[in-house]
């Protein structure tokens, strides 16, 4: 009987978490457990990509405490982290957002020595090097904003200091998504986004720090301009980039702009748009509706991003311990395997591997041909036997990254110009 009531309780609180009701923290945790940690509720918020109710359910099962999740779009996430520090315990944010909000002091640094899997975290997040021979891509690379001086540090440091701003969890290489059935010819360059052939059928995302990088890749691919550093444009370069896109917008190139993940899925699935900036799980979502959609690798390379978990500065005592416990659990493989099966990369691949079948690991990570059916974590079919992941293996994909989502020195100017582009 007690078991039943437990399940009911947790399910109800999960539903609440899902409905973005942070205020619902008042729901008393079930008292059937003896230990105090079981009464702890951690409030996590972040973008839709990794705020998954399945994770909250698994946390309840494995660790016993309650995780409340709120999913927001990237700009709202930034806004919340910067302005409402008491509204969350854990921030699931991207590294470029970290660059914006770290100086507010709303997050506290994490002691790397308490992170069990620290040594297994991918090189990209520590030294910045994917392999010892790699070059570091332009933009806000995670390792440049990943470390600070101490628990109260406000400055970023460029070496592994033992104090991390975010614990890396997830990253990926992004490119354009296309509808091969509606395009009917190979696409291999970023410049195709502005090809008049797709007039009224293209889209780009309305999140400035990400969108500007996609734009820069398009501008370079068109041969209009080569940036000395795409990740840190001058005012003139910002004007040039947005100028080209404003003109395209006025000529009716774009069908719509999207801001949240599900909007991009709807645009693509309904056929309103045939080529657009897209995120990996959005492709998965379109495909699981039985609609062909390809995450098209392009000659110029990928735009990459990384995300991680940050701790609210107000966390202390038992909640802080619980947060560390949660983060160690996060890196221990179950979540990593889940995310990898959606097409992301886990920051600790070695542990994720244990939670994936050999075929899944081969398909998603090693770029091998699938032996059986590849299904999403929710059970939808994504690929049949004998298929290969778009873009190939981890090293091929992450090795072709040319830039990271960025916050530039001229960010405020860029933001204003971006606003004008959207309003133009």
């Amino acid at each position: 009987m007690t078991t039943i009531s437990k399940v009911r309780y947790s399910r109800r609180s999960m539903l609440k978490a899902g409905s973005a009701a942070v205020a619902a923290a008042a729901l008393p945790a079930p008292m059937v457990w003896g230990q105090e940690t079981k009464n702890i509720t951690l409030r996590q918020f972040g973008t839709g990509v990794s705020n998954l109710n399945d994770v909250a359910l698994k946390v309840k099962e494995d660790l016993g405490f309650t995780l409340e999740m709120t999913a927001l779009d990237s700009d709202s996430v930034t806004q919340r982290a910067a302005t409402q520090p008491d509204s969350f315990d854990i921030a699931d944010i991207e590294y470029w957002i970290c660059k914006k909000v770290w100086p507010t002091g709303n997050l506290q640094a994490m002691d790397a020595s308490k992170i069990a899997q620290y040594d297994n975290i991918a090189g990209t997040f520590r030294s910045g090097l994917l392999t010892p021979e790699s070059t570091i891509a332009q933009g806000t690379a995670p390792h440049t904003v990943g470390f600070t001086t101490g628990v109260d540090g406000t400055e970023f440091v460029q070496e592994e200091s033992g104090w991390m701003t975010l614990i890396p969890t997830i990253y990926n290489a992004d490119t354009l998504g296309i509808r091969p059935d509606l395009i009917g010819r190979p696409i291999s360059n970023w410049s195709e986004l502005l090809n008049p052939e797709f007039k009224g059928k293209a889209s780009i995302l309305d999140i400035s720090s990400i969108g500007i990088m996609d734009m820069a890749l398009v501008v370079e691919s068109m041969g209009e301009y080569t940036y000395p550093d795409k990740g840190n444009m001058t005012k003139e370069e910002i004007d040039l980039t947005l100028g080209i896109f404003t003109e395209a917008k006025k000529n009716g190139q774009f069908r719509a702009f999207w801001k949240s993940f599900d909007e991009s899925v709807n645009l693509m699935a309904s056929g309103e748009v045939v080529i657009q900036s897209m995120w990996s799980p959005a492709i998965t979502a379109v495909r699981s509706q039985g609609i062909p959609c390809v995450y098209q690798p392009l000659e110029e390379g990928y735009r990459s991003w990384g995300g991680g978990l940050g701790l609210s500065a107000s966390l202390s005592g038992m909640e802080l311990d619980a947060a560390y416990e949660y983060i160690n659990w996060y890196l221990s493989g179950w979540v990593g395997g889940y995310l990898m099966r959606q097409g992301y990369y886990s920051a600790v691949p070695s542990t994720s591997k244990e939670f994936m079948s050999e075929d899944e690991w081969g398909y998603w990570y090693e770029g091998k041909e699938s032996k059986g059916e590849i299904v999403s974590p929710t059970g939808a079919k994504l690929a049949g036997p004998g298929e290969v992941r778009d873009g190939g293996s981890f090293l091929e994909r992450m090795g072709s990254v040319v830039c990271w989502n960025s916050v530039m020195d001229e960010n405020q100017y860029m933001v204003r110009k971006w606003n004008e582009f959207i309003a133009a």
Binding site: R255, A256, V415
Partner: protein
């Protein structure tokens, strides 16, 4: 005498306090912040004209202003036409009070669902492969799907008219119901045609209702951002969208400056409207 004035003050105090805390104070705050400066992640007290300068010297602002007025004007015209017709039908063509009330309640049924849902449900309907296009194609009216049905000014205004017509129907219906029927009989006895009665008797007497409806619709359309965002696919902008973008990008002072300009504009507009009709007297 003195006692009376104390009681008067006390009676007025609760409302004044509420207005002071929830209306005046926030507006004062917005005006103050509009002169502040902003960094990437914070705002700091200052007395700068930067925000206004950037706003008033950018031609995008003027285009957006124009767009805002365009949406308001077109939406107003359509909601007035439809709203007046519906109210007229309800007030003068339906004879029994029971039916009047029943039909009036019928008008409000769409409002039982959320504003956003009513708006978003247009998207699959108007889309490239949506119901509207596929019906027209199968009827042979068009060969190619109409692109301008969705993510265009057309879809924005369509959604506005759909959402806000009731705000026109209610006050107009209300004033029409107060018109003394003997005035219309008198007009008929004096030999006025139906149109003459409408133009010289009914419209002048319905003016306060029209004016209240106008204020509702204009204020709602000019302050809207979400309809414009969804129905234009983020491609068009009005003042509300500018404010929303600024807030999303943590540029609160700039958002406040835009809000102040918008507030002044709407107040001027409503002030002008109120000069035409003394609502207090007419009510």
């Amino acid at each position: 005498m003195r006692n009376n004035s104390v009681i008067g003050w006390l009676l007025a105090a609760p409302l004044s306090l509420v207005l002071l805390i929830f209306l005046v104070a926030p507006i004062v705050m917005i005006v103050v912040v509009s002169f502040w400066g902003a960094t990437e992640w914070s705002i700091y007290p200052a007395f700068l004209f930067d925000n206004y300068e950037f706003l008033l010297t950018s031609d995008v602002t003027y285009r957006v202003f124009f767009n805002t007025f365009k949406y308001a004007l077109i939406t107003w015209a359509f909601t007035l036409l439809i709203g007046f017709t519906v109210a007229y039908y309800l007030a003068f063509h339906i004879r029994s009070l029971t039916w009047q009330i029943a039909l009036f309640l019928l008008c409000t049924i769409p409002f039982l669902t959320s504003n956003i849902i009513r708006m978003i449900s247009w998207i699959p309907f108007l889309g490239r492969n949506g119901i509207a296009n596929s019906t027209l194609i199968s009827m042979g009216v068009i060969d190619e799907p109409l692109e301008w049905l969705l993510f265009s000014d057309f879809s924005v205004i369509l959604a506005f008219v759909h959402l806000y017509t009731l705000f026109m129907v209610v006050p107009i219906f209300n004033t029409m119901m107060r018109i003394d029927k003997s005035l219309i009989e008198a007009a008929a006895d004096a030999g006025a045609t139906g149109w003459q009665t409408l133009w010289h008797v009914i419209i002048p007497l319905t003016k306060p209702g029209i004016m209240i409806g106008t204020i509702f619709v204009v204020a709602l359309v000019m302050g809207d951002f979400i309809t414009v965002r969804f129905m234009s696919g983020s491609q068009s902008a009005n003042m509300g969208r500018l404010i929303q973008n600024d807030i999303a990008l943590l540029q609160y002072p700039s958002a406040s400056a835009t809000a102040v300009i918008l507030l002044i504009t709407v107040l001027l507009l409503i002030g002008t409207l109120l000069r035409f009709v003394d609502i207090r007297k007419e009510l």
